[in-house]
Subunit: 259 residues, 2 copies
Amino acid sequence: MQKPLILVTNDDGITAPGLRALVGYMKEIGEVVVVAPDSPQSGMGHAITLDNTLYSTKINTDAKNGAKAEYSCSGTPADCVKLALQELLDRKPDICVSGINHGSNSSINVIYSGTMSAAIEAGIEGVPAIGFSLCDYSWEADFGPARDFVIRIVREALVHKIPKGVVLNVNIPKSDSKEIAGIKICRQARANWKEKFDKRTNPMGKDYYWLTGEFELLDKGQDTDEWALANGYISVVPTQFDLTAHHAIQRLNNWNLNE
Amino acid sequence: MQKPLILVTNDDGITAPGLRALVGYMKEIGEVVVVAPDSPQSGMGHAITLDNTLYSTKINTDAKNGAKAEYSCSGTPADCVKLALQELLDRKPDICVSGINHGSNSSINVIYSGTMSAAIEAGIEGVPAIGFSLCDYSWEADFGPARDFVIRIVREALVHKIPKGVVLNVNIPKSDSKEIAGIKICRQARANWKEKFDKRTNPMGKDYYWLTGEFELLDKGQDTDEWALANGYISVVPTQFDLTAHHAIQRLNNWNLNE
């Protein structure tokens, strides 16, 4: 029987330790091809490259890491998936996994996430997809404790099939002395970033800003991804790209929009 | 009584004719402040600027256009909204309108849309918001036939209030001989882009790609935005940033994710 073909991508760039960890784990399940950005793309959301050229470079693969083929791409995470599916892979992958991101993509972060946009792009194109993120921004983050869970989630997704129109957003609590408590299926918590702009003056005398902010959780539910993570669980949120707020349609029909 | 404060932004950049049209229409309703990208940002999705500086320049406003103040910003559409709300406006706007985009943001295009990401960013921050797009990519597109409808939609939104957690995605059919038939509240149609990569070789002998594609409608429903637009109606889709696929939670709970 043919091994499953697994497309691995991310938004931290092809050299990121989180991607290297994921490649290693996926090698235990199937045949791995990497198509990932040639530079970090954090916060890229679902950007695609419309007005610029895209370059792709085939990289000599490291037999130890075990990817069958690796390509770096000059574009965004969503570009990488499009290029992989249309140009670089010789068959449709059985699953696309994105990450493991260095940093959380839980709750509202999913909106800004390049990691999840790659997974969502695969989902839009009919390829089952999962984004993995570790709630630790460090480049030296320890992905080890997540290993068995990541493998189990991908195996289960291959067996049970991810529902159509759905992409999984998996977040893993930061590794510390405590063990991971398990896996919880969750909804996306309501949350927000309270922006703060750090205003400075450049050497030429012109003002500029750095975007910073503080995370603000607006949700006390115990069925959310934030609750799960705070309690040591891996959160799995089924995420969709039909953005319609179906519950609001009736209400808008009561507005006076036609004379 | 204080006039409503209206934040106008877009993704085609501060000089775009579609933004100029929207400023003119909004002037009839309230006090207008523009904070928009200094260069085109189409296809930027919900990108934000994390690793770079942001510049903002106050522009001398043209009394004829009637904006109270205008700022160009070096960032993405989502950055513009964050900067406007935290730094540039002296009070919270009553509504944020984004556009009018030169080109469709209906159905799956909402995912890639900088226009909609600006509106969604406002929504996340608790500001009622609407993205407007005209299904005509031309820089010389005729926004005139949409004028009264755009004004009516914004007035109705100010009166009835947009439901919390919801942002409106308004698409306007391309102007031709036919009049606009009216306004329909819709759901997002299922659709996809069939990518085609146009592969070329640069003068240095290196291969590169242009991303192109064909729109593929996968939905025959008559309650979708694509149906409305094809039949001469303006489509209004209530759009949400809670991406949870609530219907899939039960199904995932049946997977074997915990030993």
